[in-house]
């Protein structure tokens, strides 16, 4: 069962690129996690494992080039190794969407990054779709609908 608490995308320099909170946390708790957890993860060496305990939960993270994908997970419910695979799936899907995704794509098209994420993970951090093809098809169809919207307006 996937029961993610949050997903954070953070650059090597500690800049936040994306945040999605699935667990009901207060703004204070969220700020604390960003303030304490992010430096902790950035300071970890490449050889260290990608799972750690933080506060009352666990964190699984992966680094892709300059970007860290950080997932807060529920102990004893989430499978830590599976969480790493979910991160990877998300990255793969974005890679296909943007075509060789890089940090800049995500910075400038953060709404797209959210759109893709929302098709994969829903509700309280539970995985709803594992097929890249399905996710991309749905996101792209929605993209094209936005286009026709504009077109309709021009025509009318």
């Amino acid at each position: 069962m996937t029961h993610l608490k949050y997903l954070l995308l953070v650059s090597r320099q500690g800049k936040i690129r994306l945040t999605k909170w699935y667990a009901p946390l207060s703004p204070k708790e969220k700020a604390k996690i960003i303030k304490n957890l992010v430096p902790l993860i950035l300071s970890r060496k490449a050889k260290m494992c990608n799972i750690l305990e933080y506060s009352d939960h666990k964190v699984a993270y992966r680094r892709y080039a300059s970007l860290y994908f950080i997932c807060g997970i529920t102990p004893d419910v989430d499978n830590e190794l599976l969480t790493l695979e979910i991160i990877h799936k998300y990255v793969e899907t974005m890679d296909q969407y943007f075509g060789n995704v890089c940090e800049l794509d995500i910075i400038y098209n953060f709404t797209k990054a959210y759109d893709i994420l929302n098709e994969m993970i829903m509700c309280d951090g539970s995985l709803a779709e594992t097929s890249k093809t399905v996710v991309l098809k749905d996101v792209r169809t929605m993209d094209s609908m936005v286009g026709t919207d504009d077109l309709n307006r021009v025509l009318s």
Binding site: I16, C49, Y114, T130
Partner: protein, 864 residues
């Protein structure tokens, strides 16, 4: 934006782009701050403008989202996000839903504004993506009200909507139902079971992974909701629980088996991850099935499939490759399932346990750190299921000590201590000591908090292990045990003594004290002292800040100097260890900890003073003794009150005749129970740390102490004068003897008020003086039966401080009080607030010999 086609949205996009660019281009944090604040103000003003065009509105909401990502305040835009959803344009709706689900959370009152909009969109007649977005938002912003209001709408989509053949809509509906049920389990009452039937029985979604994942999610929510209801023990909810639903969904267990096993042979490239078919779905199905078989109530459709489930787990384990990442994910999930199953009997589970542990053990051999991490983590938890199987993989666990990752090392250590037993104690401890020695040899390279945590873990676990296990069985000689342990402890002190906390030092000292093999013990101690007492130039073997080593050396000198110097069985290097070096070592310690004022340094001084005092009867050299006297004398002016007090008392004792001192300062007896009573020095440090309030806490604590414990404490620490301060008053206290000799005749004064009476004892109080913040009174106890061993425990509220005087009685010399005798005790309270007293009395009846105790509270009229 990739697909925007008109000029207005291009312009809008570029405005967002330039904002992002500006933020990124900022040279300093202050610059960035300025840009962000300016934009934030701008967005705020713009959004207030009712005539703003849709495209500009969207740009501003996007900027708002960017501000959100940056961690800025965004609450001012929340209503605007909801307004966007209400628009008819898909482009507005899409952004509106995205921003609403990000900027709002489940606790917000604003969510009521969403109810109607969501309900409309869920029932949208033509655009499935609008339904899909609405479901997404409902799933992430589920207040209880929204859950109750919209649950029927979601069910309606599955049953009647024209989209109910679309996997996109179905999976999201099911996910939402699951979330809504999690939010409010009473919704189960109105859960329409046909919904499940429709999704699983029809061939529409036979092998659609998204729908399967989501139905499995719904099952989880249903199964877990029962758990949470029964955990809360809410009778109403339990009675009203939809009792049909669990048996109903249990009918689908075979279907789930079929889907799971079907995945084993599935080679669809879409879902294949490095040769494993959809590990996500596999894990989810395993998890759901595990929940079924852990269901606390007996249900036929579940229990009759028990054997099959075990079989399925074994099949999955056998058919999954352990060499690829995704394969390991699935294998890990099966072990998690195996060790969480509760409803099977042991013979059924035994082979599974072995399978699980062996699977985890293969993970230990992996190169990948993450697999090692989860394996170690799981193994620690599963040892009780099958300790022998875990033992078999000792070698691999030991290998993990060489891993680069500290968290792996840490867990390996944890696991090693968990598999310790009498048989492998020597082997494993030696390995751990080697590990520590390597660390020491590398001078704790790259040292950080984690390392310190690990060393603490080793030390603490070692102390616990030494209390629990013995090497006697292995070597066949019981007396080897304590000597071997002492050797290890000395090594620990030497390597990591600067990490040892005070409590552990006490434990170590107790081990020293309780080791009975005197000759061996002295040999070890003399070796230790050889290092401590070495001339300055050679003193590089021990780290300068190794406080534990120093304390233990000091203590040993105080306890054993005389016997050590006279012992003929142990060869001692008298050049290094002699009266002169001993005294100068203490002086040196006194010097080096003169400035250091942290708690551990203060503790060291307490030990130092006691040692100096003890040595006054153990050394013969007049000059050395004089030096020690000066050492104590100097400390009588110490700025720390407790040290000063101790020094003053010791100074008096120091000047007593030798025969008086000898009795007081004789060697410590064997400690009976080392863990039950904190040593006086820790107690003293505790007090130093926490000040006044803590002292009151201590007094309150005393009320809960059993008398046994108190007596035990006394027995253990004969020479601790400080202890008086912490111990409750007892009439047989040594130091009160002088006062008792004067013994004025005590009678019950006329103005004493009765504050408590029972068939055994009456208690009176008399006010002596009362000023602002200071209150003094006397308590009188009048036993109505003959009693002995009276102890009074007294506590006041936390804002006050209490000083209890001695118990005085004129009619008796010992601690036996005849019937109707009067016992007086003075009492001072300082502080603020209403004066309230809690009193506990314990005594023994002389007639029946039984122990009695009474406790009562009394409120006084006076306020401090």
């Amino acid at each position: 934006m990739a697909s925007s086609s008109t000029s207005s949205s291009k312009k809008a996009a570029s405005s967002l782009k330039s904002f992002i660019k500006d933020v990124r281009g900022a040279k300093t944090l202050a610059d960035e701050r300025a840009i962000v604040t300016k934009q934030s103000a701008k967005v705020r003003t713009k959004l207030r403008d009712d005539h703003l065009s849709h495209s500009k509105r969207r740009t501003n909401i996007q900027k708002l989202l960017y501000l959100y990502i940056l961690g800025e305040q965004t609450h001012f835009g929340q209503v605007e996000c909801i307004n966007l959803i209400a628009s008819d344009d898909f482009v507005d709706k899409r952004l509106g839903y995205l921003s609403t689900s990000l900027l709002l959370d489940e606790s917000e009152d604003l969510l009521t504004l969403l109810t109607n909009i969501l309900s409309n969109d869920l029932n949208h007649p033509s655009n499935r993506y609008i339904v899909s977005l609405a479901l997404n938002t409902l799933g992430s912003l589920t207040s209880i009200e929204l859950a109750r209001d919209l649950f029927p709408d979601v069910q309606k989509i599955i049953k009647h909507s024209k989209f109910n053949r679309e996997p996109l809509i179905m999976k999201k509906c099911l996910q939402c139902l699951a979330k809504l049920i999690t939010k409010d389990s009473s919704l189960l009452e109105i859960l329409d079971l046909e919904v499940i039937e429709y999704c699983l029985d029809s061939n529409l979604f036979r092998m659609n992974h998204g729908v399967l994942l989501s139905i499995s999610k719904l099952f989880q929510a249903i199964l877990l909701s029962y758990d949470s209801i029964s955990r809360n023990n809410d009778q109403y909810e339990i009675e009203n629980y939809n009792t049909k639903v669990i048996p109903f969904i249990s009918k689908y267990i075979p279907t789930l088996f079929e889907k799971l096993l079907g995945l084993m042979n599935d080679i669809t490239p879409e879902f294949n991850v490095q040769g494993t078919a959809d590990p996500f779905l596999q894990c989810d199905l395993i998890y759901t099935l595990t929940l079924f078989f852990n269901f606390p109530k007996e249900i036929d459709d579940i229990s009759k499939h028990g054997d099959k489930f075990i079989n399925v787990l074994i099949q999955v384990a056998n058919n999954t490759s352990s060499t690829t990442g995704p394969g390991k994910v699935v294998l890990y999930e099966t072990t998690r399932s195996i060790f969480s199953l509760k409803n099977f009997n042991e013979t059924e589970m035994k082979p599974l346990y072995t399978l699980g542990i062996n699977t985890l053990a293969t993970f230990l051999k992996a190169k990948d750190n993450n697999t090692k991490y989860v394996a170690l983590n799981s193994l620690v938890k599963v040892i009780p299921y099958d300790p022998e199987s875990v033992q078999r993989h000792k070698k691999f666990i030991l290998n993990c000590l060489n891993d680069h990752d500290i968290s792996i090392k840490m867990r390996a250590i944890e696991l090693l201590f968990a598999i310790l037993n009498n048989g492998n104690l020597i082997e494993l401890i030696n390995e751990i000591m080697n590990f520590l020695e390597n660390l020491y040899a590398n001078q704790f390279k790259n040292f950080n908090d984690d390392w310190e945590k690990m060393i603490h873990l080793i030390i603490d676990s070692l102390i616990v292990a030494f209390k629990k296990f013995s090497i006697a069985e292995e070597t066949g000689n019981p007396s080897d045990d304590s000597i071997w342990k002492l050797k290890i402890l000395i090594k620990i002190l030497k390597l990591v003594g600067n990490f040892i906390d005070m409590e552990t030092i006490n434990d170590i000292l107790i081990s020293f004290n309780n080791t009975e093999n005197i000759d061996h013990k002295f040999q070890l101690i003399s070796r230790m002292l050889l290092i401590s007492l070495k001339p300055e130039t050679l003193m590089d073997e021990i780290a300068e800040n190794n406080i534990a080593w120093n304390i233990v050396s000091i203590w040993c000198l105080g306890e054993y100097s005389d016997s050590l110097l006279l012992n003929k069985n142990v060869a001692i290097n008298h050049e290094v260890i002699n009266e002169f070096t001993i005294a100068s070592y203490l002086q040196k310690m006194d010097e080096s900890y003169r400035i250091d004022k942290d708690v551990s340094a203060k503790t060291l001084i307490h030990y130092l003073l006691t040692s100096a005092l003890k040595l006054s009867v153990k050394l013969n050299d007049k000059r050395c003794i004089e030096n020690l006297r000066r050492l104590i004398l100097n400390r009588t002016k110490d700025s720390d009150l407790m040290i000063q007090l101790k020094a003053v008392q010791y100074d008096i004792l120091f000047n007593q005749p030798a025969n008086v001192k000898k009795v007081l300062l004789s060697a410590m007896p064997i400690f009976e129970n080392s863990s039950a009573s904190p040593s006086i020095d820790t107690a003293a440090t505790m007090e130093i740390k926490s000040g006044k309030t803590k002292k009151n806490d201590l007094l309150l604590d005393l009320l809960d102490y059993s008398t046994d414990e108190l007596q035990e404490q006394k027995k253990e620490k004969p020479a601790n004068l400080l202890q008086e301060l912490l111990q409750p008053n007892t009439t047989n206290n040594n130091s009160s003897s002088t006062e008792q000799q004067q013994k004025p005749i005590i009678t019950l004064p006329d103005d004493a008020k009765e504050i408590h009476s029972s068939e055994n004892i009456e208690v009176y109080s008399k006010l002596i003086s009362h000023e602002e913040g200071f209150f003094q009174m006397e308590l009188y106890f009048k036993p109505l039966i003959s009693i002995n061993n009276l102890k009074t425990f007294c506590a006041v509220t936390k804002t006050q401080k209490l000083t209890l005087g001695q118990l005085f009685c004129s009619t008796t010399n010992n601690d036996t009080f005849p019937k109707h005798s009067i016992i007086r005790q003075s009492l001072k309270v300082t502080g603020t607030g209403k004066l309230k007293l809690r009193l506990k009395l314990t005594f023994e009846s002389n007639d029946t010999g039984s122990e009695l105790s009474e406790q009562f509270d009394h409120k006084f009229d006076q306020t401090l």
